[in-house]
Symmetry: D3
């Protein structure tokens, strides 16, 4: 990219106050949580912040919206990995309180549009709740975007054949992304396949199926990751990254003009 991502935190107070109407603030939601024996605990934080930064830079370069990047949240709702060393998790109350406080502050800053860029599936549900809460209490127009388009629970579907749609945590997709973004932190020699194939025998309950279920990552075994990292490649990571950046950039542009009210 040739234009750096404009960052909220590089501005002075008066400069924030002078941002154009309908400026979109982008808040990456990462996570610090165990990702199996082969990936660093930063995986979701790295992917969310890298995608968000690149997307914001792209919007800034090619126009379409006024946009600023907010510092991403490293610590979020990783309660499904609460049992594991390496996980630093906020309770749902704490994360909601944090998002509410941020929303209130943005209101004071004159920001009216906020796009979450979420790298951790465990934040998706609470993020929906927060989007509405911030709309109701502070009048913010809020948006919730995932890396690559479909929500995490569904991105697993038939992308990686060997994963049977079950590569939701530390599997093919995330490992590929990290091989692209932080190859030095990926330990492919420790990567093992951990696909809960028996889940496919259930018709209704499961990831991306009509009935969701409450799970902890150690419900599936002691390793903590769910998927098959052994097939990951940096090349696929690069492609996924590019797609995610394009997706988020487009989402930001659309968010800048989105209006649910019927045209007069």
């Amino acid at each position: 990219m040739s234009v750096p991502a404009p960052r909220f935190i590089d501005l002075t107070g008066p400069e924030v106050a002078a941002l154009p109407v309908d400026t979109v603030a982008v808040l990456p939601l990462g996570a610090i949580e165990q990702h199996g024996p082969h990936l660093p605990v930063s995986t979701d934080y790295v992917t969310a912040t890298e995608v968000a930064q690149a997307a914001v830079a792209e919007v800034a370069e090619h126009g379409g919206a006024s946009v600023v990047l907010l510092p991403g949240l490293a610590y979020t709702k990783s309660d499904e990995h609460h049992w594991s060393p390496g996980t630093i998790w906020l309770s749902w109350e704490t994360l909601m309180a944090t998002l509410v406080d941020i929303g209130r502050s943005l209101q004071t800053s004159g920001i009216t549009r906020l796009v979450f860029v979420n790298g951790h599936g465990g934040n998706s549900a609470l993020g929906q709740v927060a989007c509405r809460e911030l709309r109701r209490r502070f009048g913010l127009r809020t948006f919730f975007a995932h890396l690559g388009g479909p929500p995490p629970d569904q991105r697993a579907r038939p992308t990686a054949g060997g994963e049977m749609g079950l590569g939701i945590h530390g599997g093919h997709a995330e490992t590929s992304l990290m091989l692209h973004l932080r190859p030095e932190l990926v330990q492919m020699d420790r990567a093992v396949r951990r696909v809960p194939e028996h889940l496919a025998t259930y018709e209704l309950v499961g990831f991306g199926k009509p009935v969701s279920f409450g799970w902890l990552s150690d419900d599936f075994g002691p390793d903590g990751h769910i998927g098959d990292p052994t097939t990951a490649t940096a090349q696929e990571g690069a492609e996924r990254f590019a797609a995610a950046v394009a997706h988020v950039a487009a989402a930001v542009v659309e968010a800048a003009r989105f209006d649910p009210a019927p045209p007069a």
Copy 2:
């Protein structure tokens, strides 16, 4: 149905203690909230409790699982309709606290499996959060089922052509269900089409699209419903009801034996 739905509340304390292992408790989640000028505020409560009761009865009659019906929650998270007379809404904190308290109590009762049957889309996200919270804190196996299968945000998709996938609240589907279940409470003479057709012009942001957004029901106009109730029929309501009952009954049976741990 020839067998009544077994109800938790009809039992004595000792009878609850003696329920079979892996008995599934079913908790309907309704809502009391404005549904436009043509539907009663009970719409989601009626549909959730009627479907859940019929599904529990079906499971009880045809076997496959030990199951008990819990009293449904009438008041839930209807913050998107907070502005309207007729809406009685709990904050997210209150609803979560309620679900946590119920989960703790079920643990004391020896219940280990809980299926939410949700009639109100506004509960879906928080329900996901609760499913995990109850799993982590009380060891409950938790499941979240919607009426008819796909999550509410998506059930709107191509079902009713005239709604363009936007009939999410008080539209064709819900009005049909109520024409079947409570025809005396539906005022078809006040039913008007309120489809925010312009939403279709957005590529990424929208109901059932990759990027969700935080909305209040009066963002779309003063009537409060979103969809086209004018095409609703009791016949379609009956079909939808039967499908929902069958879906939930199957979900309960599957939930009774669901186990995420890999077989030994």
Copy 3:
């Protein structure tokens, strides 16, 4: 009754908005909690909702006030029975939060008068707190009525001779009411007398005595009920029910015109 009880939830949002000034909303407070080996855990929920419904119907038929029935709360503050299977209890924080949320919603609905009809003694104290909180925060005129008149802690006094004023939970009175309302759910063959007669030896501390005490139901023994259900009859239940309905109906009518301000 020849006139059905008008129900809040049968109305549309606009119909709620059009309710007459000084309409009284009636909220039954039940409980789902162990009631000994002979009564269902629904006992307080059944009695509160049946009495409230009949009373609202009576007011609707005979006039005197505009009134609407709200869906009753099944889950309330049963912490004294927290130890028992069959009890589903809310903490005091959760129940207060629920009542506050309901009060806020009624304010938006234009409702200014609220009568609680309480079937569970364990709610009485918190209900008083809530009445004031809703008055202060939302301007609601709030009222707290018990089944049959005197507060539960005192209804035990000399009604049933054999209970020595100690039949406060699952005893003669409640069992009689259930024999009238739900005879099929009462297991008289399991009814045993559990009267803590030694409490009579205390002069100041006790039920209905000057000094109250904090108790859990298993403080009195492992069965969980306190009283003598063996003397209960459906006939007495019918009489108690009729008296309770008449009492609550009269309370609603009075609540509709009650004004603490001195006449000008």
Copy 4:
């Protein structure tokens, strides 16, 4: 009194640890709140602490129980007087949190019995909730005593003829007590009769009647007191004080041996 009241706060940590089994801790609950133009805002605090101290001293002198006096709470739940200068009130959440923290601490101190001596009617309901909470969470045997016996809401009944049972705040009884305890702080020249006589016209709703209601003290008029202080005398105050001390002393002695479990 010839024996001073033993005070918890005069002991060292090791001395607290060495208190006899079944020592009763006594916690006065006062209030700092407007009491009309003639009484200081300390009225409930003064009466509760003076009665408690004298009662504890009496028990210490005449035996019957091991007892220690705790520092009373000055600031409590005076939300009904929130509107007035001079009132310093805790919300119900704050007061409950305070009582819970005290209960937890007493548990650590090896104290198992706690008697609240309450001088402010507005604390009665929450105090009941707290008694149960402390019993459940910390195993404390808890007791709630009022000044003079019957609960404040009812002490107004027919004691002072001119008050028609409505002298609940700053009226004949409290003014008499203060004329005895703090005559220099009572401004009888500003005492005016403020009896909401019209409340007598209600059959069911009212102070000490079957249906309670949520009220604020300015619901009855701008002066803030409710009753007739003009008939108060120091002589009656002295009699009431002596009766209250005797009552609380007897309650403490009974609390020291009270056991709800049936004798073996």
Copy 5:
């Protein structure tokens, strides 16, 4: 002193409303917590309330400000002594909630200036947080004064040679104060030296050093006090008391006119 300390609680509601502009309210913060085997658990409560009362009286006598004394808080944040019998501690949430409620009430009373007089080092940090919270939410000008001037963490420095600056709890200074104020409650025969001399070997971490640390009083040993009470004398206590009173009185006078806004 020849003029008694004017007390908020001796006033009527209307008298509070009529207090002069810029009246300073003084709130003593004590603690009930173990102070070793030689001092009563009331030590911080006694010192804070005695100093505050004397200082308020001095200001009242010699003028310089309108001032009123509030009832001190006996129970505060003694979590560092949570392990010990004799300690009655509020959590930080509870103490903050209490201070917020008091601040809100003072606003209603027309009080705009509040001085905390703190006798317990464990309250210092939270007190700072509260000062800002009350300024932000209620517009109060808030001040936080310690007994004797420098903050407790630093008063230990070189005052008592034998304590090496480590006499922070129940040591030379506090024991001397109590020998002056409550000699009958000091058990010098149980006083033992407990100075954690090895702390002096740390360069950066320690009491009054650049890096503070989170400690509990039993981190230093089982006795619970930290310092050397054996050198304490009533004479030094008297001198310290006089200095503290003079300091707080001067602080009150300055607080009455303090204004951070630059002069026009």
Copy 6:
């Protein structure tokens, strides 16, 4: 530096579990808040994270302790700047909840020592509270270090003559640091002197004086900074930075072996 700072987030879960005993985790506390018209809102975040990272790297290179750097908190307690665009602040409840959640997670990770490196004076008091809370609840040894040694409220004292000890926010020291660390973000042409000189006229109340006060940054004027940035230089910033790094590095080494218990 020749050795990169070891980072917690670069590790896998199993690697975190394998960290040496007494490993020190370092958590930078920044802030996103207005810093006048000349400094970016990131000032405290930049300084805290840069100092912490360099200090951790130094310890890693020169030994003395096992140490890992945690992702710093960008959003913290900036309530004194709540009024200004550019400030994103957490309430004290939210920040405490965040720190508690982090502490709980570190306990699960086997981390027993935590050093806060604080760049924002507004976090100091709450940080003290948190240090004790984490010690009590999770057994963590906690330490709170400031940039450069003395606590922020005091670092202002006589460093910059022209500031009279009042350069506490956006003044000489912080501007110098930013001229060294992020010169491109400092707008010296907008730097103006804002020293509340009149504060020097108060004897007891003030920054670094015996009596602290609750302030908001707009109490001193509309610009929001307090100090004199016009004298700042990159050279002094470099010196201050080096000193801060050395200080924090030494603090980490000491924290790794600090033990309050007397040697056996």
